[in-house]
């Protein structure tokens, strides 16, 4: 079972927030590597800066409008968000950091419930109520473990 998570968070425009967003992206892999390796359920995870629109067509844009986290992990979303919450270290800190610079106020993420609620509120690819995702392609439906199995 795959859980695609496409988390878009609009960020504040002040210099400190913009710098924090750049840092979050620069340090992302390093911060989450150990936790994600250990969990053995994440196919990939990428964090990107979404540029501001250009004010005039053809001119370079400055600054970033938001952060986009795209990932795909095995197993059901809500029970296994707990895995990331409890994994400690980088993942929790990365999400808490993103929440701090969010343009729309985010209630403090102190508990697992807060964490689940925040992720679900910004996920652009929630599980469809019936059938499969209509906006999610998979070349295979195997889990990371199945792919790595001897």
């Amino acid at each position: 079972m795959a859980s695609p998570l496409t988390m878009y968070v609009q960020i504040k425009q002040d210099a400190v927030s913009q710098e924090l967003a750049e840092k979050a992206v620069a340090n992302f892999t390093q911060g989450v590597q150990a936790g994600l390796d250990a969990a053995e359920i994440v196919h990939y995870a990428t964090l990107a800066l979404v540029p501001n629109p250009a004010t005039t067509p053809g001119t370079p844009a400055s600054g970033y409008m938001g952060l986009l986290l795209m990932t795909d992990f095995d197993l059901a979303m809500n029970p296994y968000l707990e895995t990331f919450w409890n994994a400690g270290g980088g993942i929790k800190t990365a999400i808490q950091g993103i929440a701090l610079i969010a343009y729309n106020p985010v209630p403090p993420i102190n508990t697992l419930t807060d964490f689940q609620n925040f992720i679900n509120s910004v996920n652009l690819t929630p599980a469809p109520t019936s059938g499969n995702w209509t906006n999610f392609y998979q070349a295979y439906n195997l889990t990371v473990k199945q792919i790595n199995a001897d």
Binding site: A39, E40, P79, T83, S121, P128, Q146, A149
Partner: protein, 507 residues
Amino acid sequence: METTTRNAPERKNVQGLILKGYTHPYSCHLLFQLPGSTQSPGSTPTELSQQQTFFKALYSHVQSAEDWGVYKPVSMLNIGLTFNGISKLDPAIIRQQDLQRFPVTFREGPASGGSQQSLGDNAGKNNKSNPQNWWNGQGDAVTNNLDCIVHIYSLTEEDLEILIAYVLDAAKTNGLTEFIPLLPAIKNGRLYQSIVDKDPAKIHFGYTDGISEPSLKPSEGTPSAESNNNFVIGYPQDALTVPGPTGEDTASIFAKDGCYNGFRVIHQDVAAFNRFLKNPTTDPAVMQQLQQLKLETSLEEWLAAKMCGRWRNGSPLMLSPDKPAHETSHEENFNYSVTDASGHKDDITSSLRCPFSAHTRVANPRDQQMVAAEGTFVPRIVRRGVPYGPTMDDQVVVDDGQDRGLIGLFLCGDLAGQFEKIYGWMNNNNFSGKEIFSVRKPPQDALLGDKTAANSDAFPGTVTSFIIPVDANNKITIPTLPNFLVTRGTAYCLLPSMETLGRMAGV
């Protein structure tokens, strides 16, 4: 409103069902829609007053978890509310803007895509358990509008009927709509508890139920998945599964001392189960293997025990591997692993007694080793279910068209982390390493796995075979298990505290 910080819930403020396993032999579980609206500007003053009058009428019958002494109440009730129901309440009790503080799993409900990832009712082709078929084919019309479940318990049939009539009258007078969850021709389609085999401890398929439960002791400073802090909302100290929401907002205050209920009505096809036990495979080689076993019981009883992990009298296979024993029939103190002097943990050998995919071993793998993604502890769940529908003899192999099964009440502090996580495991045995489950072709819980959902996108590779190790070198593989169960409906409710119910009732 409670302002002092306590480390454990006060029993008198918690609904009885949560901390006590009632043994009342009669019960009925009524489903209602409240008057009012979830949409802005919310319920009208008249609707709010109708809601309050209804809850006020019921309030004095609500049983708390306080000790009732030597005399059991003759009849009593407990109340659960769905997120939809809570969203219709008076904003003076819970503010609209705080509703989003409830966990997403509770808010979106069991038919949502997120929950179905674990429950699997909509997975596979033409799944009879599909939420569209729930509630006798009413599907979303009930699931999306169900606000309140009233659980009524009684010592006698007569007293049960008196309290049901009282609740129905209060509902009618105050503008509630009753939903009829089953076929209306039988017992008015209501969820009445039945007594299977003249024994209140039995459920369909002939098993004894209600044995293994978390201790629900107050936390004693040691983190544990069993203490009541994992179930009752508001006491995160020492809980491993942390119930929510917690905080100073009105949703957290509303939820405090409450507990969630994964209410799930499951049809049991007893004739299919009986047929399977008598004729578990069409493969002659496997049948021969089974017949050559030197058993101390009949093959049917042995298979039934291997699928559950307990003999039908309740004896766990881990303690009574060869035949049921009276002395062990209520035993819950056992494990699946042995650690030798060099610290090596062996949880494989125990499968000679209890197969890895036996229902009780999947639903509570105890000390069995888990893969990293599962975290460091096994979540627990409180079961308060009762059977419904008439007994079917274990010799009957043709269905009689009667509905029967389990009115399941699965109580937890975190629907995703307890109820749904365990459900996911039952549908896909992938929570332990490859020495235990095949990674490429994981099995399912022999009793509970939804066989239609096997090898769907939701559970890739999952197989419906059942492996029974018989000695150090041999195992018997039943090639295909049939489906024994169909989900008739599911609702996620909050069983609020007595204090919250009091506020809803205006008392």
